[in-house]
């Protein structure tokens, strides 16, 4: 799973933003600002990713 995320351009230290969320614990639409990709992540996977919330610029 980690490999798959790497391949899609998601790496440790990237800046991401959550753009949309499906209803009923649905998937998240995550936009990676560092590599400029949008990916839909299932809830199970999204839950396992540690993020740090940055103050709005």
């Amino acid at each position: 799973m980690r490999r798959r995320l790497f391949a899609l351009g998601f790496h440790v230290g990237d800046l991401v933003e959550v753009n949309a969320q499906g209803i009923l614990r649905g998937p998240l639409l995550v936009n990676n600002l560092t590599s400029d990709t949008s990916v839909a992540l299932g809830h199970g996977i999204a839950q396992k990713i540690l993020v740090e919330i940055l103050p709005d610029e």
Partner: protein
């Protein structure tokens, strides 16, 4: 493989436009769409370009050379087996940073290579200005900006390709940070010459480090314990320095290098305003609004096809029935008449009943695909897929299934787990494909009303959910989570949509129509020999007593196995009426029961065959049994309710 022609391989990340570029060069051959993973099979083709023959291979998209899906493994096999003379790396310029990761990995192969910087216009629209010359310098290979959709940059790309084929264009692998590079280097040196080296020593060493535990290391332990020791040491050294798994370190190295290059070679000029597609996406993917929009789009889709097909069907049927009356007047009722009648039914039925719905359906499907909406539908529906125990990635085969079940089952190759493949493949035959949609439109919508037809569709989709829930109950296994790339919304090009419609129409002409005509003639012959009555009598317990349908329809159900549309054409033939007078011999309720039965009763012959080939004999028979059971149960139920 024919070695006289240079082998050129197209490779790139999913949805980077390889197939569009391939089509632009070779003429319409590969199917394209704005949906990651459209090309599941590779397309091979010998192309004559400006007087020279090339063997071009369009490979399925892959994010990296460390495959995790069965479809991606195809890519590797090809790269290594066929030893391409030239790699054309197709890069989506609008997501340069990420796309370069694959480019860097390909450079490690040190095969001759050029880069097609595709969708250059899209990148500019996004406010990203890329300097191809600078990029060329950083990568050390030719970079040609292209817009495959409009055919721009193709000439330059060809020139670059021929240049590389005629003269050598050396490629050298990019270098990473020194600490990692030292370890890789040491490992590369320790690989003995008799070990099978892929591409070059360094690449082999890197791939050994990146490889999966079970795959590389247990095998390697057996065949080359010395190398295994070196490998373990290299991994340990890297891990000690970076405090992360070695494969992650290597992937991160590529990532950072890719980002660095992309930053150095492009300038972002985007202001603060949202571009139209981001704004639209906010609405389309809205957690609440998204669903009514999804429903509205499909409802509109459905009505539009009906509104186009319905009057056409009426107009086209007129001459067909006059033709039949003409023949019955002139040829009497002998063998000749029956043969001619079968032929007319087969050809005319195809033109008048199937095409008015089938063609618009293909066209609008192409529109939704190219727009990029289908991936968004997958995102919205993922929640419900989880409820039935599958994840959103199964959505893409399902959506393909609305076109035709056969490619849908093939595309289950994008699913990583065998369990998901089996469940998805068992469910696909329940998805109303274009043939069945045609039946639903031509029978239910035409005679009973479009609202009923739409209701039928909704019911059908609910049924898929219910059966899915039941199936996942039997196959309990955690399914891997969803990671699905969402492509940018693109305004579809009319040309591309027409090409796609044409490609599918051509395969309909080639494979389905002969069956329709042949089937009609066979039925005519059976009628002439009065054999149809024997069949019908055999089936009558089910058809007449169970389903309450006219006895004459029994035989059409048998033929439905060949091709679902055949049932539709044969129905008129078997009942001996023309299209306008159908309601005199069969009631509206009977039409619904009949449609329910035909839709579900068995996967058609091609679906059955592809299930057998792709997943296995057991699944194919299981699917047939499941369908027959469901069809009988449901049509009985419908008969009781209506």
């Amino acid at each position: 493989m024919n070695n006289r022609f240079p082998i050129v391989v197209f490779i790139g990340q999913p949805n980077s436009g390889k197939s569009t570029l391939f089509n632009a060069l070779a003429g319409p051959k590969a199917e394209t769409s704005n949906f990651p993973g459209t090309s599941i099979k590779h397309t091979h083709s010998k192309v004559n370009l400006e007087g020279r023959l090339l063997n071009i291979i369009d490979l399925p998209g892959t994010y990296s050379l460390n495959p995790s899906e069965p479809a991606e493994k195809v890519v590797l096999t090809h790269l290594f087996k066929e030893k391409p003379d030239l790699i054309v790396n197709v890069v989506d310029a609008s997501v340069l940073g990420r796309s370069l990761e694959l480019t860097l990995e390909l450079l490690e192969l040190e095969y001759p290579m050029i880069v097609a910087l595709n969708m250059f216009d899209l990148a500019e629209k996004k406010g990203v200005k890329i300097d191809p010359a600078k990029l060329e310098k950083r990568l050390g290979v030719r970079v040609v900006p292209t817009i495959a959709l409009h055919g721009r940059g193709l000439k330059e790309l060809l020139e670059a390709a021929y240049h590389c084929l005629d003269e050598s264009c050396p490629v050298s692998s990019p270098r990473w940070s020194k600490d990692v590079e030292d370890e890789v280097d040491r490992l590369a040196k320790s690989i003995s010459p008799d070990f099978s080296i892929v591409a070059n020593r360094r690449f082999t060493a890197v791939k050994l480090i990146e490889a999966n535990e079970t795959f590389c290391c247990e095998v390697l332990e057996e065949i080359n314990p010395l190398l295994k020791k070196d490998l373990d040491r290299a991994k340990k050294n890297i891990e000690g320095k970076r405090h992360a798994p070695a494969y992650e370190v290597i992937s991160a190295e590529r990532h950072h290098l890719a980002l660095k290059i992309s930053e150095q070679t492009s300038r972002v000029e985007r202001g603060k305003h949202l571009s139209w597609d981001e704004y639209l996406d906010d609405i389309l993917m809205h957690p609440i609004l998204g669903y009514p929009i999804l429903a509205a789009i499909f409802l509109g889709f459905f009505f539009l096809i009906f509104k186009i097909g319905n009057p056409l069907e009426g107009i086209l049927l007129q001459p067909l029935s006059s033709l039949r009356i003409y023949f019955s007047g002139h040829l009497g009722s002998g063998l000749l008449f029956h043969l001619v009648d079968g032929l007319v039914q087969g050809i005319g039925g195809g033109i008048a009943i199937v095409l008015p719905y089938f063609l618009p359906l293909l066209f609008f499907m192409a529109f939704l695909e190219d727009l990029g909406y289908l991936a968004r539908a997958g995102f919205l529906l993922d929640t419900f897929m989880h409820r039935i125990g599958l994840h959103g990635k199964s959505i893409s085969p399902f959506i393909l299934g609305f076109g035709c079940n056969v490619p849908a089952i093939m595309s289950t190759r994008i699913l990583e787990s065998q369990r998901d493949r089996i469940i998805t493949s068992l469910l696909i035959p329940f998805i109303p494909c274009s043939a069945r949609t045609t039946i639903i439109l031509a029978l239910v919508a035409f005679y009973v009303g479009p609202v009923w037809a739409f209701g039928f569709y909704v019911f059908n989709i609910l049924l898929v959910a219910v059966i899915g829930r039941v199936l996942t109950f039997f196959f309990k296994d955690p399914s891997p989570g969803l990671i699905l790339e969402i492509p940018t919304l693109k305004l579809p090009s009319l040309r591309n949509m027409l090409i796609k419609t044409y490609l599918q129409f051509k395969s309909f002409l080639k494979f389905a129509w002969p069956i329709l005509i042949g089937g009609s003639i066979v039925l005519s012959l059976l009628q002439f020999l009065s054999l149809d009555k024997t069949f019908n009598r055999l089936l009558s317990p089910l058809v007449v007593h169970g389903l309450g349908l006219p006895q004459g329809l029994g035989i059409t159900l048998v033929f439905g196995f060949l091709r679902k549309e055949l049932t539709l054409i044969m129905m008129l033939q078997a009942l001996g009426v023309d299209y306008k007078n159908l309601l005199t011999v069969i009631s509206r309720e009977q039409i619904i029961v009949f449609t329910v039965f035909v839709s579900f009763f068995i996967p058609c012959l091609s679906t059955f065959a592809v299930l057998w080939k792709e997943i296995g004999k057991r699944v194919a028979f299981l699917s047939a049994g499941l369908s027959i059971g469901a069809a009988i149960l449901l049509s009985l139920l419908v008969r009781l309710i209506i």
